[in-house]
């Protein structure tokens, strides 16, 4: 089998698994997860085969592994769809395959496979636990998820969407995968659909990303109109057409289209101002959070931005002023990075903190792209996928352990509330150590973690590009990131337990901890492939493989990597912000006690309430979008247009017709038509009745009549003609 064929086959196993589970194995939990695992495993295997096949290729960017077929005839030409593997695809495949597989394995444990059925569990609600006997005591234990098979079917479909998107060689199939993921995200966020909050979150996620998708579709349409193709290589080859002025805002077509596509990325990757859906998406089960918010869907947004970086940067060379689109990306990205990091400071829900940190990190990547640090953005995408998946799964593990404690003690605490945790380090050692690694990677703990290398590259990219504002914003966000990460770790794992549930939390089974360990390994080692050559002391020990491999994607020499650090400033900055943030976080929260208010609440004052409430963005959007939409729907469309205008018109017509009918009936139908009929019938009857009298049946009487008539006639005739 040619390696090209294998590219096609990557997305298929998860799709087949989806259908198999939906159609055949729904009733059987074990079979369902084995089918899903087999699907994910095969896709993983194929991805790894391809990854290691292409890893040594020198010229992969120019000659990607590609295969295409004719799909739709368009006049004399064909619309082709196909799959291709270039360096960006290969790297993305690598982390997608690993995280997806780990999340699948983890889900088995998270959904309590092997536990008894819950006593009061309903489909559409999280499991409530089941009564059981343990050492003679009556205890409540975790119960299995009621819609276990459905979950595996949906994440399989989700994986299919992601793989399709990654291996596509054109924007059309990319968009198809993109939308499949949008659908699955909706279904999975609303997985526990009996909870109103989950339903609302699902609708919110779907509608918010839809805003971006509409613009993206516009971009696709413009692109197809101008270049006549949606194939990547065709598009990037048509530089002359794309550099023409579009006549809109004085931008070139390339810039305009890249901007439209970037709005799609903003929706999918939750960039300000379309970030609001991602924190609410935490309503879904935690593996879903990991899947959507780390490994796949949000990465897809960045992947698209990376894919279309050549469009955004068309006509730009390092050292030149940024193009308009790049400026927009840099601005929005760095703003989002800072903005989301500040919100994360004041969240107590363990998953919400991670959600905002995800938004912030995605902002980093966008900002990196905006300043032209292509390789750094791709590198951060890779490392972030690993450590954020790790953190989400770790937080799921914490929540799972807390739920165990909650069920065990019967205490009414929110298992996701960090203020109720504490001291979990000794209860859940594996979760603690892996979470710590993930947290340090997120903060950019120097040298050993992957996050340090990628973040450092972004900072140096911004610095060397001369983008001071971006550099400072990102540096501040990095400080905040380290701070809130340490806050999270301290509140969750260190100190003494602050609730009974936390005292009784237990470590989870190996199906949940194994993925954590695997991802932790990557969270550390993924950074080693991209240590810049110019790095003091360490540079050059390991080859800077990543910069060379992915750097092929952009024609110009990669910044930061190959040419080394132009200055020591960004390095010092990233060291200071990471260590400083971590230390401050630990210092502030190490003495956090039961029932105490947050240490930041007093010094920040009113600002804290703003952070706590996410700058009131939900309320703002509710006011300017949801309320007017409701008003238009309810009052304007329904009450006014529908009820009053349309219904009123119809009722009026009905009333007029009714009146007319009444008149016609009383004035014409009844007297004239009915009357005529009745009179004819009645008259005939009367006549018959009257004439009946003559019909005596006596012939002689008839004769008398006849003769009388004859006599009269004769008399008449005589009188007439004789005189």
């Amino acid at each position: 089998m040619a390696i090209e064929t294998l590219i096609w086959l990557i997305p298929l196993p998860p799709l087949l698994a989806f259908f198999a589970i939906v159609l055949f194995t729904r009733q059987n939990r074990a079979l369902s997860h084995w089918v899903a695992l087999a699907g994910a495993g095969l896709a993983w295997l194929a991805s790894m085969l391809i990854f290691f096949q292409v890893i040594g290729s020198e010229d992969l960017a120019k000659h990607p592994l590609a295969t295409a077929i004719n799909w739709l005839p368009t006049g004399k030409t064909w619309l082709q769809v196909g799959a291709a593997v270039d360096p960006l695809t290969a790297v993305t495949l690598f982390f997608v395959a690993w995280t997806v597989l780990m999340i699948f394995i983890y889900s088995i444990g998270y959904h309590n496979y092997g536990q008894p059925k819950g006593d009061h569990d309903h489909a559409g609600l999280p499991p409530h636990g089941a009564a059981a006997k343990e050492h003679g005591h009556r205890v409540t234990v975790m119960s299995v998820e009621p819609m276990y098979s459905r979950f595996f079917a949906l994440i399989s479909l989700f994986a299919f969407g992601m793989y399709t998107l990654v291996v596509s060689n054109n924007l059309l199939t990319l968009f198809i995968g993109w939308e499949i993921m949008g659908l699955c995200s909706y279904l999975l966020i609303g997985f526990w659909y009996a909870r109103p909050s989950a339903r609302d979150a699902a609708v919110k996620a779907f509608l918010t990303t839809r805003v971006g998708d509409v613009f993206m579709l516009l971009g696709l349409a413009a692109l197809y109109k101008i270049t006549g193709s949606l194939n990547y290589s065709d598009i990037f080859g048509s530089t002359t057409v794309l550099m023409q002025n579009s006549g809109i805002l004085g931008m070139t077509w390339a810039g305009l289209i890249a901007l439209l596509l970037f709005i799609g990325t903003m929706g999918k990757s939750a960039q300000f101002p379309l970030h609001v859906w991602l924190p609410d998406a935490m309503e879904g089960p935690t593996p879903v959070s990991a899947m959507i918010h780390a490994a796949t869907m949000v990465s897809a947004g960045i992947y698209l931005a990376l894919r279309f970086f050549p469009l955004a940067a068309m006509g730009w060379e390092p050292g030149m002023p940024l193009t308009a689109t790049m400026t927009v990306m840099a601005t929005i990205g760095s703003f989002t990075a800072l903005f989301a990091a500040t919100i994360a400071l004041a969240q107590n829900d363990i998953k919400k903190v991670l959600a905002y940190s995800t938004i912030s990190q995605l902002g980093y990547m966008i900002a990196a792209l905006g300043v032209g640090a292509y390789v750094a953005a791709a590198f951060h995408l890779l490392t972030h996928a690993f450590f954020k998946a790790l953190l989400f799964l770790g937080s799921g593990s914490v929540i799972h352990g807390m739920e165990h404690g909650v069920l065990h003690t019967g205490e009414h605490v929110d298992p996701q509330d960090m203020t109720q945790m504490g001291g979990l380090k000794s209860k859940m050692p594996v979760t603690f150590w892996t979470f710590l690694i993930g947290g340090l990677a997120l903060s950019g703990f120097p040298l050993v973690t992957a996050g340090f290398w990628s973040k450092d590259e972004i900072l140096s990219g911004a610095f060397n590009g001369g983008q001071w504002v971006v550099f400072i914003t990102l540096a501040v966000s990095a400080l905040l990131t380290a701070f809130y990460t340490m806050r999270q770790i301290t509140l969750t794992f260190l100190g003494a337990p602050r609730s009974k549930a936390a005292e009784h939390a237990t470590e989870n089974k190996w199906v949940m901890t194994l993925p954590l360990v695997v991802l932790a390994v990557f969270a550390v080692s993924a950074g080693w492939v991209g240590i810049p050559k110019g790095f003091p002391l360490l540079g050059g020990i390991l080859p800077d493989w990543f910069a060379e491999f992915v750097g092929q994607m952009v024609r110009t020499a990669p910044e930061g990597g190959g040419e080394g650090h132009g200055s020591i400033v960004p390095l010092i900055t990233s060291l200071v912000v990471a260590l400083g943030g971590l230390y401050l976080g630990w210092l502030t929260y190490r003495k956090f006690g039961r029932g105490q208010s947050d240490a930041l609440e007093k010094p920040l004052g009113a600002l804290y309430a703003w952070l706590r409430n996410k700058y009131y963005f939900d309320e703002l959007y509710a006011m300017i979008f949801v309320k007017p939409a409701r008003w238009v729907a309810e009052t304007f469309s329904y009450q006014w247009i529908d009820r009053k205008l349309i219904d009123g018109f119809l009722n009026g017509v009905a009333r007029i017709v009714w009146w007319l009918g009444e008149r016609l009936r009383n004035g014409f139908d009844l007297p004239v038509i009915n009357g005529a009929g009745d009179v004819t019938a009645e008259g005939t009857r009367e006549m018959g009745h009257w004439m009946k009298g003559m019909q005596t049946g006596r012939v002689q009487q008839y004769m008398v009549v006849a003769i009388s008539v004859v006599v009269v006639l004769i008399a008449f005739l005589i009188y007439r003609y004789s005189g």
């Binding site: 004439m691 009946k692 019909q695 005596t696 049946g697 006596r698 012939v699 002689q700 004769m703 003769i707």
Partner: protein, 106 residues
């Protein structure tokens, strides 16, 4: 020679007797006989007028006779049918009184 008016008087008398009989008799057979009387009164009239008013009866001796013969044939046919009807009615209803044969009454 006997004047024409005598014949006419006889014929009118016969016709009136027949008419009276036809209208007043209850027995269907008598009615039939009265009808025969009227027919023959007409025959007398036909022969008499032919003999007295026609210019030269010898030149065309059969003209009136033909008429009379037709009337006879019609009368004979009528009697045959009428008697048959009466007999049939008698068999059915056991009566030949005209007033009682009133099935046609409306």
């Amino acid at each position: 020679m006997i004047p024409l008016s005598w014949y006419v008087i006889v014929a009118v008398a016969m016709f009136c007797i027949g008419l009276f009989g036809a209208l007043t008799r209850k027995n269907a057979v008598a009615i039939l006989m009265s009808v025969e009387l009227m027919l023959n009164a007409v025959n007398i009239n036909l022969i008499a007028f032919w003999r007295y008013l026609y210019a030269d009866p010898a030149a065309d001796p059969t003209r009136a006779l033909a008429f009379v013969a037709i009337v006879f044939v019609a009368a004979a046919a009528e009697v045959a049918v009428g008697l048959a009807l009466i007999i049939s009615a008698y068999r059915q209803r056991n009566t030949v009184v005209a007033e009682e044969l009133d099935l046609m009454k409306g």
